[in-house]
């Protein structure tokens, strides 16, 4: 169980770093340092994704969040003045701290009380093979059947959690096709919208 042990240790260390980094982001007076702390949190979250076998999501997290969003924020910080101690508290600081910690405990309580479905309760062996092990795909009268593979051979696929990229891709264009299109429209309208906002100022 050496693998699990290392994964657990990494998880606890990284979670600690995430919470520490998040606190730094919301308390730092220097906005630029806050932005850098934010990108640190993003990287740590990507590590959590890697630990959860979500390689694709982890890589996208680094690509989009660290490579684009936090660089954009750092870029924006350069344009505003009073960066070094520009991040001030409002007068509701204590109230919001109380509210947020209350919400935090409520969330923990709910998550502990709720009985979540567990992976252990799956009894279908083919499903387990499809999720984490090796499996065959057999197409049979319109639906695809998953069979557990006993011997390793070329036609064997890895489980959806081990090789998630393929499955994410296929579900994006089958189950989630319409949300995908909507996301595309949102991205384009955001692009055009932000350009329009900037250009309107330029004319004046």
């Amino acid at each position: 169980m050496s693998g699990n042990f290392f994964i657990d240790i990494t998880f606890w260390v990284v979670s600690f770093l995430i919470i520490l980094g998040s606190f730094y982001v919301v308390t730092a007076r220097n906005i630029f340092r806050g932005a850098i702390g934010l990108s640190f949190v993003f990287i740590c979250v990507a590590i959590i994704f890697f630990l959860l076998n979500a390689e694709f999501l982890g890589v996208v997290q680094i690509l989009v969040y660290v490579g684009a969003v936090s660089v954009l924020i750092a870029f924006a910080v350069m344009f505003i003045k009073d960066v070094v101690d520009g991040s001030k508290y409002s007068k509701y600081r204590l109230l919001s701290a109380f509210l947020c910690s209350f919400l935090f405990f409520v969330l923990i309580f709910i998550s502990q009380v709720t009985e979540w479905n567990s992976m252990d309760s799956i009894e279908n062996e083919d499903a387990l093979a499809g999720l984490e092990g090796f499996y065959f795909e057999e197409s049979e009268s319109g639906s695809i059947l998953i069979k557990k593979a006993e011997v390793l051979s070329d036609g064997v696929n890895k489980g959806v959690f081990i090789n998630s990229t393929l499955s994410i891709g296929s579900s994006l264009i089958s189950n989630f096709l319409i949300p995908l299109q909507v996301i595309g429209f949102i991205l384009i309208s955001a692009l055009i919208g932000s350009l329009t906002i900037i250009r309107q100022r330029r004319k004046q």
Binding site: F79, I198, R201, R202, Q204
Partner: protein
């Protein structure tokens, strides 16, 4: 545009591409230049004041150090002024020799200017080294003539210091064969490269009117279509016996300036060939009986100008009858060509700042003197 605040940046005096020690306080709006304030004087050595303490021949060595990439031309301008002031009649062979030397220097200077354009555009030294290699051959010729490569002090009142050695003439022929090829190479580099063309054409345009008003001279003026060349308008030495074209361009942008320089260097090769044809044996300078080492010109003042590699290069000398000039003033072409720097740069991008600056082809030694 209110959306961004202008940023003022200090560029220089220690900056890799200010062609010396030059300082500019540039105000940017984003990447666009909105204001330029040139600050110079970091290389001021008081040459004009020092000239008042030296004899007329010794002042020659100061002129070498002014524009150190075209010292032969500085020498020529100064010597012409002294000859006019002291009524010296030069000997013909000396004049032909100094014409050859000064045209060679013009080629060398234009090679440096063109090489540094491509360097300023961001090429990593390869074009610069190619043009510098060609310049080396010309400097070798100077070494044969006078023993020095850069600070020559070759000319004397009435001619030159000494005659060219035997091996000079075949070497000169070889260089004259090579130089047009080098310029073909450079011109191809300049006018066939998409990046260079798109970065220089239409950048930093100056109108001929403004250039004439600012008394800008030299290749910069001729790139704007003004046909003004002192070798043609006011022939000094034996330039009236020589046929040459004056290349003109009409767009007055960075590309035109360098195109004009390259064509001009080609014309220089033709001028040198004509000089070689016309040169005849004889003394290279009058004897010391006619022109003594210690000149004492009669009181008076004189202004004499030549067409230098960067524009009109003039010397104003005042004599009080003594062995040293009472006052020596230089009309430095680099300094006067700098006057329109602000007009050239405003509205351009940061990337083009040093390209436009380099297209003036200035030399800090001459600007600050």
């Amino acid at each position: 545009m209110p959306s961004t605040q202008p940023v003022t940046v200090n560029l220089g005096p220690q900056h890799p591409s200010t062609h010396g020690v030059f300082r500019m306080r540039v105000t940017f709006d984003g990447e666009e230049i909105v204001d330029v304030e040139p600050v110079f004087g970091y290389l001021h050595r008081g040459s004009e004041k020092l000239a008042e303490e030296r004899t007329y021949t010794q002042v020659l060595t100061l002129t070498d150090r002014m524009d150190y990439v075209s010292s032969m031309l500085n020498n020529q301008s100064y010597i012409l002024a002294v000859e006019k002031l002291a009524n010296v009649e030069p000997s013909p062979r000396g004049v032909w020799l100094r014409m050859i030397a000064s045209e060679l220097q013009r080629i060398a200077s234009h090679l440096v200017a063109t090489g540094f354009l491509i360097q300023d555009l961001g090429a990593l030294g390869t074009p610069l080294i190619y043009s510098m290699r060609q310049r080396e051959y010309i400097l070798d010729l100077f070494e044969m003539l006078c023993g020095a490569r850069i600070t020559n002090s070759y000319l004397r009142p009435g001619g030159v210091y000494m005659d060219a050695p035997e091996e000079f003439w075949p070497a000169l022929d070889k260089v004259l064969l090579d130089v047009p090829h080098a310029f073909d190479e450079l011109e191809e580099l300049l006018s066939a490269n998409e990046i260079i063309k798109s970065r220089t054409i239409g950048v930093s345009i100056l109108s001929p009117e403004s250039m004439v008003n600012a008394s800008i001279t030299g290749p910069m003026l001729r790139a704007g279509g003004v046909d003004w060349d002192l070798r043609h308008r006011n022939p000094y030495d034996f330039y009236d016996q020589i046929n040459f074209h004056r290349p003109l361009h009409n767009s007055s942008d960075n590309f035109a300036r360098f195109w004009v320089r390259i064509q001009e260097a080609r014309e220089s090769v033709k001028i040198i060939r004509q000089c070689i044809d016309k040169i005849e044996p004889g003394p290279v300078r009058p004897s010391f009986d006619e022109v003594p080492r210690l000149l004492r010109p009669p009181p008076g003042d004189v202004y004499s100008a030549i067409e230098g590699s960067k524009g009109e290069l003039g010397f104003y000398l005042v004599s009080d009858g003594g062995i040293a000039p009472y006052r020596c003033h230089v009309r430095a072409s680099s300094l006067i060509n700098l006057t329109l720097l602000r007009e050239m740069l405003i509205g351009e991008l940061f990337n083009d700042l040093f390209v436009s600056f380099g297209s003036i082809d200035l030399n800090m030694g001459e600007v600050d003197r």
